[in-house]
């Protein structure tokens, strides 16, 4: 049984990039179990590249990533659920088929049990009734929620979210934040989130790191409110106080 204080994600001397291009280097950070943890940074700062490495889609150029104390498993059921920026639902499948896909792949549950679980996951994200809709028949916000339902299908203890609020209206975005906060509070699910949305950051994030592509490193870490009020770094200050810069 993992201890509650054990970090669920831990990186050591991590460098990420593409080919010979190093985007971020020498990153050391931990994501505590049960946390809502954000990776922040401007456009092109490398936060999505870092996320891809954490998920296991890209090999680190150097260093290690440990998930619950062990390297990211390359085989077997996925250790974490992932929501991609666009939802990345399979267009030829209904929402129910999208959510049931990991259950059919990784369990031997019968049809009735899978159907029950799929409905419960879709109900959880407010999409019950839309089981038989195709992704192109629903809105962007619904696609994201369906993506979350699929990411939750195997009840992972860790959820990665890539810019969940991007392209959503403020109401839908707030609903999504509420859902993430509920999942964290009720299920104790650790969430790692890449986002720009200040409102979301202050609403749900407990700890964060900010990366900078120019310096190729972490330039700040801590609780969002503490960084907003206490950081001397001009980039961090500008990120958390965009209007004071404009004014």
């Amino acid at each position: 049984m993992p201890s509650a204080t054990e970090p669920i994600v831990e990186t050591k001397h991590l460098s990420v990039g593409y080919g010979d291009t190093v985007v971020l280097e020498n990153l050391d950070f931990v994501v505590p179990r049960g946390d809502v943890f954000a990776i922040l940074g401007g456009s092109g700062s490398g936060k999505s590249t870092l996320l891809r490495a954490l998920i296991g889609l890209e090999e680190p150029l150097q260093g290690t990533i440990h998930l619950a104390g062990a390297p990211i498993p390359r085989e077997g059921p996925p250790a974490a659920g992932v929501l991609f920026q666009s939802g990345a639902l399979f267009g030829s499948m209904t929402l129910a088929e999208n959510v049931s896909l990991p259950l059919r792949k990784w369990t031997t549950l019968d049809h009735h049990a899978i159907d029950t679980i799929v409905r419960s996951k879709l109900r959880l994200v407010g999409l019950e009734g839309f089981e038989n809709h195709l992704p192109n028949e629903i809105s962007g916000g619904m696609k994201k929620r369906a993506g979350i339902a699929r990411a939750l299908a195997l009840d992972p203890s860790l959820l990665y979210l890539d810019e969940p609020s991007a392209g959503l209206d403020p109401v839908t975005s707030a609903e999504l934040d509420e859902l993430i906060a509920t999942l964290n509070a009720s299920l104790g699910m650790t969430t790692v989130i890449v986002t720009h949305e200040l409102r979301s950051i202050f609403a749900i994030v407990k700890h964060c790191i900010m990366v900078d592509g120019g310096k190729r490193s972490i330039i700040a870490r801590g609780a969002p409110a503490a960084l907003r009020d206490g950081s001397d770094d001009p980039q961090v200050h500008a990120f958390f106080n965009p209007h004071s810069r404009a004014g």
């Binding site: 031997t108 549950l109 419960s120 109900r123 959880l124 009840d155 509920t182 104790g188």
Partner: protein, 378 residues
């Protein structure tokens, strides 16, 4: 596959007084571990009881999917006319039940996608081909845009033509040459088997020359271009359509016909005859090889006989057809691409449809030209 056996999960049925019963759960109810035993849990819940209680006081952990299964089992007992309740849940287990059980079930708004039969599928595809493709709309738009292009040549994105010609022409040259060489070779072989019997070996040159220049080279080249460039055009425009790039072009004041369609049409109209001339040459070369190796005819004699049999009209008529092949392939590919909808799957559908329709159009155009040439005495 997940190991279905987990000693951390247990359940037992306890019969109480007054016909009541309890299902006492204990340990960790994680669906990955408990699902294998779920059928036996359902069996335990089946014998009728005045009231069936699911006692979760011994449960330490409950995950989402196991919660869903548990709530479903409770609803199943109630639907069968029994009484059931979940008792003893505490802490995180209670929170899970509240989270998953807080919304009343709602029926699906859509029926599941129907499985359709083969005949039905054929009918649907035919209707799609005729109706949804909006081919007439497209032709109308092309004519209107063509008139605009004549009035204002700047309307057409000429700079794109050179790049497209390189892609559709130069890049497809190796495959066109190999295929047509083999076609010439095979034709010569087949002809030689028959003509040898009559001592008419030299007429292999006539047969290969005429069939290659009039039919085989234009057809084979057009088929390759349809499969290669037609599919590429359709996929490219289809992807642009679904990613809203076509809409973006319009908002920038650029007409998709002038910017995308005309350069592609022009490209294939120019490239196909050029490729066909080279295909004629290499097809005849295939015949020469067979004649030299299998029929004891010298290359010189073969070429003289070919020159006698094949006139300028034969080459020209083949090339003339390919202008219309190119026009058909490009228009069909662009039309299918611009009519794409439905994401990645839609792009795949549009590409398949473009290639199939182009092949159909090539054969129809070829038949029309054959009848016309015949009618005019060629």
């Amino acid at each position: 596959m997940i190991d279905p056996c987990d000693p951390g999960f247990r359940v037992e049925r306890v019969e109480l007084q007054d016909g009541r019963a309890e299902l006492r759960f204990g340990g960790q109810l994680r669906f990955r571990q408990c699902f294998a035993s779920w059928q036996s849990v359902r069996r335990l819940a089946r014998p009728p009881a005045v009231q069936l209680a699911f006692d979760l006081s011994g449960v330490d952990t409950l995950d989402g999917a196991a919660t869903a299964l548990l709530l479903d089992l409770r609803d199943e007992v109630v639907a069968a006319g029994g009484q059931a309740e979940i008792v003893g849940a505490h802490g995180g287990v209670r929170a899970m039940l509240d989270l998953y059980g807080s919304h009343p079930p709602r029926p699906s708004l859509h029926a599941p996608p129907a499985r359709i039969g083969v005949l039905d599928q054929i009918g649907r595809e035919t209707l799609t081909l005729l109706g949804e493709s909006r081919a007439l709309d497209f032709i109308g738009d092309v004519v209107v845009a063509g008139a605009k292009a004549v009035r204002a040549p700047g309307f057409v994105n000429w700079r794109e033509v050179a790049r497209l010609m390189e892609r559709a022409g130069a890049d497809s040259l190796p495959i066109v040459l190999v295929i047509n060489f083999l076609v010439g070779l095979v034709t010569a072989f087949q002809a030689a088997i028959q003509l040898k019997q009559f001592g008419a070996n030299i007429f292999v040159a006539d047969l290969v020359g005429l069939s290659v220049t009039r039919e085989l080279a234009p057809l084979m080249t057009a088929i390759i271009v349809a499969g290669r460039s037609g599919a590429a055009f359709s996929a490219e425009l289809g992807t642009m359509r679904v990613s809203e790039e076509i809409d973006a072009l319009r908002t920038l004041g650029l007409d998709p016909y002038g910017f995308l369609v005309f350069p592609r049409v022009l490209t294939l109209v120019l490239v196909l005859p050029l490729l066909t001339i080279l295909a004629d040459v290499i097809g005849i070369a295939g015949g020469v090889l067979v004649a030299m190796l299998g029929l004891d005819i010298t290359a010189n004699a073969y070429l003289i006989e070919t020159q006698k049999a094949v006139g300028l009209w034969d080459v020209f008529s083949g090339c003339l057809k390919t202008v219309f092949f190119g026009l058909s392939i490009a228009l069909i590919a662009c039309q299918r691409g611009l009519a794409t909808h439905g994401g990645a799957e839609g792009v795949g559908r549009a590409t398949t449809s473009a290639v199939v329709t182009s092949l159909f159009a090539i054969v129809v155009v070829d038949a029309i030209f054959t009848v016309l040439f015949n009618a005019f005495g060629h």
